[in-house]
Symmetry: C2
């Protein structure tokens, strides 16, 4: 692949001049400039971003670490971040931690060695070991979706507390009193906050939910299925008439368990999910759920990150994005 040197030779100028033309960083006589562009075209020259990155000490590459980019929620976040990156001429390196702090740590090191200009992190755990590595490195970063308490950094979160509250209020307003909750991993802030919202709404209605109504899942469909089966196995007097699942995947798992038990949603059991993934609208019955601005979170994270790269001093900002109840037919 052609280099600056070859272009320069063909155009009969020095490599510096070529560089100035390419970057528009200094005035060059139109006639000379034309010769340069001609040579560039003739040789099919493409600037070497690796060399540029080394010299400028800016790679224009960002890193994104998510637990699992195949999960529709993170996939959407990643998409938003990629779009923001592309728009600002940044590239994106994708990393999957599988929720494993060790793998996350490994990826973090890789990204630092790769000299990315910034890192967006959806953390695998609430208190990652390697946080100090990240902070010490001085590389700009932004925390997305899962808060890391006690950390001074840009972050982009959904208003999960409000979301849990809205979902539960909706069920209460429909006359339900025995409302169960399928949680996510409890050390992660999104799940914890949604459950807090649930408890708050219940408390306001004067209900103290027994432990039996609160079942822990892992954000995957199968765990929602299992939790719902558990609820259905409770004696009639204790059995919930409604379920708030902390994400749509688990809600859809619950849907299946309810269907298999020969019961109907929402007639026998009402159901509210969280996330509003694309398919929530397409299951039967369409799922009432709390929509997060997922794509928007990714995009905002990207914009924030790029902004911070360009202006390091800015004090860290915490963005709490509004959620919204999407009423469909499952409750």
């Amino acid at each position: 692949m052609a280099t600056l040197r070859e272009v320069a030779r063909r155009a009969g100028v020095s490599i510096a001049t070529v560089s100035y033309v390419l970057n528009g960083t200094r005035r060059v006589r139109p006639e000379v400039e034309a010769r340069v562009w001609e040579a560039v075209a003739a040789l099919g020259y493409r600037p070497n971003r690796v060399a540029r990155g080394l010299r400028r000490r800016r790679t224009h590459v960002l890193g994104l670490i998510v637990p699992d980019s195949a999960n529709p929620f993170f996939a959407e976040v990643a998409r938003g971040l990629e779009d923001a990156s592309f728009a600002a001429e940044y590239r994106l390196i994708l990393c999957n931690s599988d929720g494993d702090p060790l793998k996350e740590q490994r990826y973090l090191e890789v990204l630092l060695e790769q000299r990315v200009d910034g890192i967006a992190l959806v953390s695998a755990s609430a208190a990652p070991l390697h946080l100090s590595t990240l902070q010490a490195s001085g590389v700009p970063f932004v925390v997305v979706d899962r808060d890391l308490p006690g950390l001074e950094a840009d972050c982009v979160l959904a208003d999960n507390l409000q979301g849990g509250y809205l979902a539960t209020r909706h069920l209460l307003e429909r006359g339900h009193r025995r409302i169960a909750c399928i949680t996510g991993p409890s050390d992660l802030t999104p799940s914890a906050d949604r459950v807090r919202g649930y408890r708050q709404a219940m408390a306001e209605a004067g209900i103290e939910p027994p432990d039996l109504w609160i079942r822990r899942g892992d954000f995957r469909a199968e765990s929602g299925y299992q939790a719902a089966r558990f609820f259905l196995s409770l004696p009639p007097g204790l059995r919930p008439t409604a379920i708030f699942a902390c994400n749509d995947l688990m809600a859809i798992g619950a849907l299946r368990a309810i269907g298999e038990a020969g019961l109907a949603v929402p007639r026998d059991i009402a159901l509210v999910g969280f996330d509003d993934i694309t398919l929530a609208a397409y299951v039967i019955p369409p799922l009432t759920t709390v929509a997060q601005p997922t794509y928007e979170m990714g995009r905002l994270a990207g914009e924030l990150l790029i902004q911070r790269i360009q202006e390091r001093g800015r004090p860290p900002a915490r963005h709490l994005l509004p959620v919204r109840l999407v009423v469909r037919q499952s409750a």
Copy 2:
């Protein structure tokens, strides 16, 4: 961030020696080696992969271009590819073309400028303009999911023809004769091949499907919804009793249209999809579909690509991965 030079100074050796220790490329006296490692640890040294990439002319970075990484199918492919990359110490740059050949072209150029060691491409169209760019660049690449006919290159495809055939046969065996088909964009090989499989099975059963039964979609749920509404609007004598949708998203759209019309699946209309996305098992009724080894396709593509990077001469291989009918309850 510390450099080789600083490590060398601290260990009291030349930078070459440090490099040899780090890479294990030459014998170094144990005593000296220990001093080097000590200095590395003390300074928290991390090799600069940008500099290494420039010097070695190998970046250990791959590029992946997909139409939309938020689409569950491509997300899964991307995941497989990322895993294969990580396992072989490669990084992955993610690019979304939005199915737009121009954006795809732009990304291709970006990746070439970034000097990626290889490119995996899920093409936006059947005959991309920029193919020659790619071939001329000499960068190893692999084509995934969508074939580019007449191209000498590694490629990884699912056996779409067989898939369409299996799906249709299944419906025929259940006694259906009026079987409709919701296609994808017809210039893309996956859709075209699935439709060919459908036609072949129909022909073997002695049925010549009228054009009314073949409706074009765009692989998104909404288009499946619209197509199904169209089928339902046909006069009873012409109305299909079964639908083969060329992907699950469209099948789920159809499911919704059928539900809204007050009909039941599979009692009134049977339905078979394609892809077996995670959620296919969770819609009601669970969707009978043709499973592709999606993740596996991504992983294989990654392995193939890395293999080719290491051994350029190897003749191109075409991999046709088997599909499998997953019988659930929608047909």
